[in-house]
Symmetry: C2
Subunit: 344 residues, 2 copies
């Protein structure tokens, strides 16, 4: 582990200069500050072992609501803080923008702002820092993203193979065998996992899992208009959706086609966003336990801060039974009025 002395020696300056530069002292030139921060990052210097003040952790949030109790990110952040703050850490939540990622290199930002590690919620493939995670030296926890081969980066989330397995097992227990799958585009790590898990688990059970019962698109409406009619034509009596908004829209669409949920068709969602309790009928689905996710993110970061190069840290998902699934219908119903759906 590099020390202030190491940085000073490498740059040929005094330890006091290094210390002042890292603390943003006004009597140190911007150029020297930059050089010190860069060298500190390069050498893997961490304030963790030297600061007497409480160590600071950043939670960066982008593409995800988190301010109100019904927002998806809210409970994750609360869970994280419940585990981190009693352990003596200061947790700060930072709304992340694309611009911020273009303005700063990630490791340098963390060094300047005196954070020893971070949790990222909502990062997408287009976010500039995602590339930096391949080589960053800051202990970093990513929710629902996966970075291979950097010992400093850990991905957390739920076990997506198990979640799809739970959904299929439940539908099997209700007598369904013609089960369909509708998903988001496969560029995102978790959607690819769920899609592949469906194929794997169905195939292991000797059930059909090909394009006749599966479909995915980037947008919800495109997914429904392009794939749902085919799934229904091919006799699906139950459909697993890769996320709750898609499941919610699928229920609505089925209703428009004259199919009753769950009497004619069963629908399962994924994630258990707060909305699921209030849909008609209330949506059955896979829960990501958000407070537990938050806690587990802190435990994953603790691993990293203790020098354990954790790669993947996944929770067991849970099936939440509400009212959108029922026994397989004796006689499958065909859709009656496909074109009446107003939004397609």
């Amino acid at each position: 582990m590099a020390t202030l002395d190491d940085i000073a020696q490498e740059l040929g300056v005094s330890k006091a200069t290094v210390s002042k530069a890292l603390n943003g002292a006004k009597d140190i030139s911007r150029k020297m500050q930059q050089a010190v921060v860069e060298k500190a990052v390069e050498l893997g210097y961490s304030r963790m072992n030297y600061n007497t003040a409480a160590p600071r952790i950043a939670i960066f949030v982008i593409n995800m609501d988190y301010l109100k109790p019904d927002d998806f990110g809210y409970d994750i952040i609360i869970g994280f803080r419940k585990a981190a703050e009693p352990a003596g850490f200061v947790v700060e939540v930072i709304p992340l923008t694309q611009q911020m990622q273009l303005d700063y290199r990630y490791d340098e930002y963390m060094m300047r702002e005196n954070y020893i590690g971070a949790l990222f919620l909502g990062m997408c493939l287009l976010d500039p820092w995602l590339k930096e995670f391949q080589t960053c030296k800051t202990p970093t926890i990513l929710y629902d993203n996966h970075i291979s081969c950097n010992p400093k980066v850990t991905d957390i989330g739920v076990d997506n193979v198990e979640s799809i397995e739970l959904a299929i097992q439940y539908l099997r227990s209700l007598g369904h065998s013609k089960i369909g799958y509708l998903g988001n585009a496969l560029e995102a790590h978790v959607y690819l996992q769920r899609y592949q898990a469906f194929k794997k688990v169905m195939t292991e059970l000797g059930l059909t899992a090909d394009d006749s019962v599966m479909g995915y698109s980037y947008h919800v409406n495109a997914c429904l208009s392009q794939h749902l009619p085919r799934l229904l034509e091919n006799g699906c009596t139950a459909i697993i959706c890769s996320h709750d908004m898609l499941a919610h829209s699928a229920m609505f669409y089925c209703n428009e086609l004259g199919l009753r949920v769950p009497e004619d068709i069963s629908i399962i969602g994924h994630d258990d966003i707060p909305l699921c309790r209030y849909t008609t009928p209330p949506l059955t689905g896979i829960r990501q336990d958000r407070p537990a996710l938050g806690k587990s993110a802190f435990y994953a970061l603790s691993c990293q801060l203790n020098g354990v190069p954790l790669s993947t840290h996944l929770l067991h998902p849970e099936l939440v039974m509400r009212s959108s699934c029922g026994p397989v219908p004796r006689e499958p119903q065909k859709p009656s009025s496909r074109n009446s759906y107003p939004y397609l």
Copy 2:
């Protein structure tokens, strides 16, 4: 969380009787002790929250050496203890036998012996307790086994997709494109993962990954005699082996065939068992960092003990470069004397 009172009420006995029964007091009949233990297990009672004594964790070891510093299990256990003991836990190492697993139900054993959780090293598919892990209520960490859908069970190990990716990337950087794979039988979770990872990563790179360059068998000698000649005939200039003993034997076999390692053929192992430093030539391969594995097992158990239903907890593997891999040969060498290998 169930209390002594809950157990007493369910059984219609006094709290004192329950307490004595759980502590094996002589004035409580064996039958009553059995009834109390079974009810305690059923209700999910945990001594963790009630005992004032230091909580006890069991490390069960089977099919794995661990007593001497060069044994594979030794450093894992040391790593675990280094993390657990300063945190106030008592760690006991228990050699596990098949008979013990037949004599006791797992949860009952743990309750009787007053352990709050366990790490298992070396369990195989034939071990009777493996089935009980599907429904057990004791926080349980399994090294290199995977149990789906029980929130109390977590699997730990290294990320096998990443380890195979590291090996392939390294061989690619040396110019190899005809890369073979030799593996153990696919019944075991980790060997299936490594086999599938090879197919996946090679296919993504546009390289051949079919039976012409892949093979697996339960026994090392069978694997070499049945598959290695085919891989060499098909022009492989490098071979990734699913474990170090197989890699070591493959090097020996190649030598017998007149091929030099690494000049004519590169060999990569997996796990970095202590032997790898002493083979001729010293074996390049994927390291499972054993002290870090031990520590990570404790962090995974901490998650479980704090109510987080952790499913999977994997470390980043590391490539250890020794001398068994070299640049792709300009002209691939064919084996010269296949039948001279003395053990096949």
